[in-house]
């Protein structure tokens, strides 16, 4: 007889980053299915869903509803860092845990959050390390106007400047804004070597479309000489971007159907994979431990036998592969695979790991 364990899902199925939320939700639900049909696991996961609809002010209340009205102590959810920070007080108050499946900007290590996707030493730093020698050191930085873009661009500025490069411009748009004209004008005027894109949702789609147009009239702005780099672009948004996605370069822990895929599992994107892994990891920590459903994350991770778990008990971050890939003919193709690196949210544990370990395999130069 399986033990019944409720698990919260907190994703916005509508709103400006709905594509990412849906990818995560699918990954989490598929993993719930996998757990429930696995005879070796003695628990049945029962999803409890709340949908904040992309409204930042509903994340706190929705999370509280899950933790107050149901027995769920673990919630898989949130896409933006803004929403993640909104639910922390609720998690602290009730002793809940958030399994966060999106890449983020680092500098956080909550006792109540597991960071399942990459942080800057696993996306931004290796991406710049790879791109600067290939494309040049004159950067233009864009972002949506909240902590993700601000912090990614601050780190990028520091890295580019330390490498002797130059930041030609840095501009932000409110989430959801389509007002990309000024960015495009500045990019046309400054002719950077690459563009770091931390816009999200429709702003990003409009921006990439306009940049693609620019490339049609001026060859400098095509991917070969002025590529767009991203730390959070995955397959789940390619359909919204269409032909303008060609040539985009992204860093992440997983891309779909890579020619030499070391990860044989088939996910739609790294968002889906991270949410999926979150549920499996949780099931692994709870199985054959009656009563574990309600203990704190620290105690869960502290128990003997959890050493095989991929989560660092000190930082709550994971060791992840580092892949750099480019969109070619509508799908990501591998540019470089680097050695797996532990998440280092405060960038305090090592010099940028990418520089230490170097490439382990180069597929396309």
């Amino acid at each position: 007889m399986k033990r019944r364990v409720e698990i919260g899902l907190l994703f916005s199925r509508t709103g400006s980053y709905a594509l990412l939320s849906r990818a995560c939700r699918e990954g989490a639900l598929a993993a719930v299915d996998a757990v429930n049909t696995d005879p070796a696991i003695d628990i049945t996961l029962v999803p409890v869903e709340r949908d904040p609809g992309g409204n930042i002010d509903l994340y706190g209340p929705c999370c509280e509803e899950i933790l107050r009205d149901t027995s769920a102590r673990h919630v898989v959810g949130c896409i933006t860092s803004w929403s993640r920070k909104e639910v922390i007080p609720t998690l602290e108050k009730v002793g809940g845990t958030l399994w966060y499946p999106a890449p983020y900007e680092g500098f956080e290590s909550s006792d109540h959050i597991v960071y399942m996707h990459a942080c800057p030493n696993q996306h931004l730093l290796p991406l710049l390390d790879w791109a600067l020698p290939r494309y040049g050191k004159r950067a233009y930085l864009t972002g949506s106007n909240y902590i993700w873009g601000w912090e990614i661009n601050r780190l990028a500025r520091e890295t580019v400047t330390a490498a002797g490069g130059l930041v030609l411009g840095e501009r932000y748009l409110p989430i959801g804004s389509l007002d990309i004209g000024r960015m495009i004008d500045e990019i046309r005027a400054t002719r950077p070597d690459f563009i770091l894109n931390s816009l999200i949702g429709p702003s990003q789609y409009r921006f990439l479309a306009a940049l693609h147009e620019l490339g049609l009239s001026d060859p400098h702005f095509r991917p070969a000489t002025c590529p767009v780099l991203s730390c959070n672009l995955t397959e789940c948004e390619l359909s919204a971007i269409g032909v303008a996605a060609e040539g985009l370069i992204a860093a992440g822990p997983y891309f779909r159907n890579l020619a030499d895929n070391a990860d044989p599992r088939d996910f739609g994107s790294s968002f889906e994979a991270a949410a999926h892994d979150a549920v499996l990891e949780l099931a692994r920590l709870l199985k054959h431990r009656p009563g574990a459903d309600s203990i704190s994350l620290a105690k869960l991770l502290d128990a003997p036998g959890t050493s095989a778990c991929s989560i660092d008990p000190q930082t709550h971050h994971r060791t992840l592969p580092i892949l750099i890939a480019q969109v070619r003919n509508g799908a990501f193709a591998l540019c470089e695979r680097r050695a797996d690196v532990a998440g280092d949210p405060y960038l305090s544990r090592a010099v940028p790991a990418a520089r230490q370990s170097g490439p382990s395999l180069r597929v396309v130069s």
């Binding site: 602290e92 500098f107 290590s109 909550s110 006792d111 620290a298 000190q314 960038l347 305090s348 090592a350």
Partner: protein, 202 residues
């Protein structure tokens, strides 16, 4: 001017927590360890190892002067006050000891990273200012020497204005401060009674 915060180099730094065993110490230790620091907690007497710490977190509720082997306000590292009771007397004591930042107790899930950066920045700024003040103070104390040296040079047949310029020129040639040049001039000419041989010193 935009102030740049040093964010690197916290990895491997040593933090000493001066606090009796308490859940707040556990939460503080957890945060510090996650950030990458090496943590020791001691109560009540820190011993000489406090001098090897890169950051000191000290309890304001139960702390006392004798815990610190230095004059109040002259710690050789950034100090973060752990404040429980926000009573003016204890805050006054924390300021006197030389707190560079503070964290309120009970310590929860956050607040340590910003306290580290703010404490280090305040410590650096205070140390730089202390250095500049000591320098200015020394120069102020040397006003008399400067006056004496200018008078000595003037007594050798030039105007006070020229003597002042001469002293500046000597300092530049010798690559020392104005005040140090004044001391040298006094040492050389003070006993000679003003023979006109200044060119041999150029």
């Amino acid at each position: 001017m935009k102030r740049r915060v040093r964010i690197q180099n916290l990895g491997g730094a040593r933090a000493l927590i001066l606090h009796r065993p308490h859940p707040s110490v556990q939460n503080l230790t957890r945060q510090l360890t996650a950030i990458g620091l090496v943590v020791d907690a001691i109560w009540p007497e820190p011993g000489p190892q406090i001098l090897a710490a890169d950051f000191v977190f000290f309890d304001v509720d139960m702390g006392y002067d004798a815990q610190f082997p230095w004059e109040p306000g002259t710690s050789p590292m950034p100090m973060v006050a752990l404040i429980g009771s926000e009573a003016p007397g204890r805050i006054e004591w924390a300021l006197g000891i030389g707190a560079h930042a503070q964290i309120l107790k009970p310590v929860g899930d956050s607040g340590v990273y910003s306290a580290l950066l703010i404490a280090r920045d305040a410590f650096d700024a205070r140390r730089e200012l202390s250095g500049r003040i000591a320098d200015l103070q020394a120069r102020l104390d040397d006003r008399q020497s400067v006056v004496q040296a200018v008078a000595l040079l003037a007594s050798r047949g030039m105007s006070e204005r020229d003597a002042y310029g001469e002293l500046r020129q000597l300092a530049m040639n010798w690559r020392i401060t104005f005040e140090a040049a004044a001391h040298r001039v006094i040492a050389r000419f003070g006993d000679e009674g003003g023979a006109d041989d200044r060119r041999s010193h150029r």
